[in-house]
């Protein structure tokens, strides 16, 4: 893929992620990790090639199919993209509202999740009043609140201390155990090493290495992302 008339930032990329799998993607800054995630969460279209999600080619899917696909994908954006005029609680509940769920059905889940990520005391705080790590955790809460089929996280532990990074990782593992396919872009080699999960190494827009698949067999899932 490329941005505008710029050079290709991702080329000759072909890989698949088994449904229910857990992968890291790592590589130097500017290698194209964020761009790769953008392709998957449909914020960008490949200039050439296909992106398959849930057994369906997204590049040829009609625009009307996008919202449905996106609701099955949770994203922790590198720049977080929290809405400043909404409270932490409202930010976290946003995907559920868009999915058309009734507040009474999810309020307690949202409160529980926020407590779990350590924001139990800051649920009505505005994002601007939150510390960097708190904002990060709020963005993560928003990404996972709707139990997505795919979770994409772009440097999700960039702003938090080691202890919180482990805690967040445990949340992702928990989600993965429930069936979510997880792909995390990160620099945190320590986290990768401790996790024992397979890694895609991205350099200059190409996957240059792919570590051994995870030892634990994934629970069977009906579908998953299969970018070609």
């Amino acid at each position: 893929m490329r941005y505008g008339r710029g050079p290709d930032v991702l080329t000759n990329l072909s890989f698949g992620l088994a449904p229910g799998s857990f992968h890291f993607v790592t590589g130097p800054s500017g290698a194209g990790k964020s761009s790769l995630l953008k392709l998957i969460y449909l914020a960008a279209k490949p200039s050439k090639g296909l992106v398959h999600l849930f057994g369906q080619d997204t590049t040829s899917a009609p625009a009307s199919a996008k919202p449905g696909l996106r609701r099955r994908i949770g994203v922790v954006f590198q720049d977080l993209t929290l809405l400043d005029h909404l409270s932490a609680f409202d930010n976290a509940a946003l995907p559920l509202r868009i999915a058309g769920r009734k507040p009474a059905d999810y309020r307690n889940d949202v409160a529980e999740l926020l407590t779990w990520v350590g924001l139990g005391q800051r649920m009505d705080a505005m994002p601007a009043t939150l510390a960097g790590g708190e904002r990060q955790r709020l963005a993560i809460a928003r990404a996972v609140v709707n139990r997505p089929d795919i979770l994409l996280a772009d440097e999700p532990t960039g702003n938090v201390d080691h202890e919180m990074a482990v805690r967040i990782f445990r949340l992702f593992v928990e989600l993965n155990r429930l069936g979510t396919t997880v792909l995390i872009a990160t620099h945190d080699q320590d986290l990768i090493a401790r996790s024992g999960r397979p890694v895609l190494l991205l350099e200059n827009g190409r996957i240059t290495a792919r570590s051994a698949p995870e030892p634990r067999p994934p629970e069977p899932r009906p579908s998953g992302p299969v970018p070609a």
Binding site: Y41, P67, G68, R70, T81, L86, P103, N108, Q121, D124
Partner: protein, 297 residues
């Protein structure tokens, strides 16, 4: 923090910020437009009433100018004409005007005349027409001819046509002004929607990526601007109604002037204004937002 947040009491906050500094300018402009639209509506109603009043007066009677036939005195001719007309259908009363009365009508043009008999003042017959089914000039002429009276009937139809034409013109102008104001309001709201979307790109993007449909996002802007326009419509209509009340009171029983008789009921013309403003804003915001949001994918 004084109180602990209670999720059970949480109510979803609006996705778009409720109040924006920009809104005040929009409210002002739309309120002014609504004010002008309401004044136009009240003006058209008052003009209609004036036209109806005038035509009603003119429709109520007709004047017949009688020319005596050879050997007949003018008075006899007038009396004969009156008799012929009284029997006609659509006529309530026909009465020959005494020469002095006829002269009174002409005095403004003639000045004071001492010797009335020497003046060839024509004899007039005033015909009061039936209010429900007034006779027209043709029927009156037929009645006169059947009695062999030589006379000219003036049923004021020329004046009535003029008044009706003027009334139509005022109505069409009113409609035109109304449409222009609605178009201007729509354009202003479209402009504001564009600015609002640009300023809230972040919200649109977050909603999009969370799987919101274009229509869902457009509806946020629709609701927002419809509400603002409705409020502005309320302000504009209220101001116009207040002005109408002032004019009505200042103008006495007949309204501002007999020429533009504003009735209390005319003030009701401002009532649909807030709703219409909200409707125009809703359409403008929806169309603008849909077009822009589709490009923001």
């Amino acid at each position: 923090m004084s109180e602990i947040f209670d999720p059970a009491r949480w109510r979803p906050a609006p996705f778009l910020p409720e109040k924006e500094a920009r809104d005040r300018a929009l409210i002002f402009v739309v309120a002014v437009l609504c004010f002008l639209a309401c004044l136009t509506a009240m003006g058209v109603l008052a003009a209609n009433r004036a036209a109806a009043g005038w035509t009603g007066q003119l429709n109520g009677d007709a004047t017949v100018i009688v020319r005596p036939k050879g050997g007949e005195t003018p008075d006899a001719a007038a009396a004969r004409a009156a008799e012929a007309l009284s029997g006609a259908t659509g006529v309530t009363e026909a009465r020959a005007l005494e020469p002095a009365k006829a002269y009174d009508l002409l005095r403004p043009w003639l000045g004071d005349v001492t010797d009335l008999e020497d003046l060839p003042v024509p004899r007039l017959v005033v015909v009061t027409l039936d209010a429900r089914h007034p006779a027209n000039a043709k029927q009156l002429n037929a009645a006169l001819q059947s009695q062999n009276v030589d006379a000219t009937v003036d049923d004021h139809s020329v004046w009535i046509k003029d008044i009706q034409r003027a009334g139509d013109l005022v109505r069409w102008l009113g409609v035109l002004v109304f449409l222009l104001i609605a178009a201007a309001a729509g354009a202003v709201v479209a402009f504001a929607t564009r600015a609002g979307l640009a300023a809230r790109r972040d919200v649109v993007e977050v909603l999009h990526l969370a799987g919101a449909e274009d229509g869902f996002i457009a509806r946020l802007f629709l609701t927002r601007f419809a509400r603002i326009a409705g409020l502005a419509g309320l302000i504009g209509a209220g101001a116009a109604a207040a002005l109408g009340v002032g004019l009505r009171i200042a103008g006495g029983g007949e309204g501002l002037t007999p020429a533009l008789p504003l009735a209390w009921s005319d003030l009701a013309a401002v009532l649909p204004c807030p709703l219409l403003a909200a409707l125009v804003a809703a359409v403008a915001a929806q169309v603008t937002a849909m077009a822009l949001i589709r490009d923001m994918q």
